[in-house]
Symmetry: C2
Subunit: 232 residues, 2 copies
């Protein structure tokens, strides 16, 4: 029975699992669980993953959730996966969630923007980016821990950093700008996993376009109101 991957490509851990399967030639069926429609709360999905989040997999009689756990399982269970993926199989560092939730994502979920939480999130994110650069990317290797081929941790973490793409260009430049090594490493990970990396991230680029259009429309409407006010 073919591996089933329950995922929403809008979620970065979902993307990491899908890219991993594609890069390693793992035959799988992708089943979309649309988070924006709350499909993770359906009774069918509860039987797949009682934690009700994506990604989750079903491989024959095995069910598994949490992307790090899934990636380790896939690397272990599918003999075609190359050894270099194991060089760093588990790595977590607080990254973008808090910042993104309190900037771009709050309005999406109908939550108020919280500048204080956003500032805390930015501090955490910057400190993590600094750590990645100064500890995990020190030396001349192209990947984490000085490797020359990507590991599970490279893919996982690069997918998480890609989530920053939805930010306003100005904010993105402020956050990622000082970390040239991080930018280069995301690019290396992208190159090592292409064309799948770009294909799977397409949904994010489209979301970015939508958000940018919305921002321009809002800016126009504000400047329109200002012009109108100045004429009154």
């Amino acid at each position: 029975m073919k591996l089933k991957v329950y995922a929403d490509r809008m979620s970065q851990p979902s993307r990491a699992v899908i890219i991993f399967c594609k890069v390693n030639g793992i035959d799988f069926e992708e089943i979309k669980v649309d988070i924006s429609k709350g499909q993770q709360y359906s009774p069918e999905f509860r039987d797949i993953n009682p934690m009700r989040n994506v990604p989750a997999i079903v491989d024959g009689k095995f069910k598994l959730f949490e992307s790090h756990a899934i990636l380790i399982y896939l690397a272990c269970a599918f003999p075609g996966v190359a050894d270099h993926w194991w060089a760093m199989a588990y790595f977590k560092i607080p990254l973008s969630v808090k910042y993104l939730l309190n900037t771009v994502l709050a309005p999406v979920f109908g939550l108020p923007l919280n500048p204080e939480a956003a500032a805390e999130g930015e501090e955490l994110l910057s400190s993590s980016l600094y750590k990645i650069e100064s500890i995990w990317l020190k030396g001349n290797g192209r990947f984490l821990l000085g490797g020359n081929q990507p590991s599970i941790a490279d893919l996982s973490l690069a997918c998480e950093i890609m989530q920053l793409e939805v930010l306003d260009e100005k904010d993105r430049a402020r956050l990622l700008g000082p970390h040239k090594k991080v930018q280069q490493w995301v690019e290396n990970t992208r190159n090592a996993t292409r064309p799948h990396f770009d294909e799977v991230h397409n949904i994010l680029f489209r979301a970015k376009e939508r958000i940018q259009k919305q921002r321009s429309a809002e800016a126009d409407s504000v400047s329109g109101r200002k012009t109108l006010l100045s004429k009154i």
Copy 2:
């Protein structure tokens, strides 16, 4: 080459991995990394686990750290592991660390006790115990999700709850007392994995004895001072 498990039995994720190996007949060599002596910071251990925490494993050319990741790897890589361990392979819920750190463990690390943080930790712990009981142990099953045999999550979580053994009896009764189902389920996990569960937890029981003796000595000394003061 035999599997190497780098562990300190004083750490609950270390214990979960060791018990798992023993219960499943996995041939392994246990290498003690004494946290109380800071051995996780040695250059030798850095090469095993750059995150410098235990447990970590080396299996031939694979290095891996983080207990959940390790347990999934072991279940996958060793054919003798029974299927029931997969029923719930990944589960994390905030449990005892914050409470323990601000009650029993602070003096061990030379930190001041923080009653406010302890109260927050207790609230978190109680709410997690309530969730385990009302969601994950609902129904008549002996294990999480209604299973009749333990999964990786049962072992991991039961080992974490066992850490509460080092508490003062009064505190332990207050915290665990209202959760009879949780107590029964820890006992079920213990029975399903004996004699290894008890053998590996022995270090914790010995630590408990030491802490209790210390508490009695302190209480005696306080009451002695009070008697002396009342005589002055």
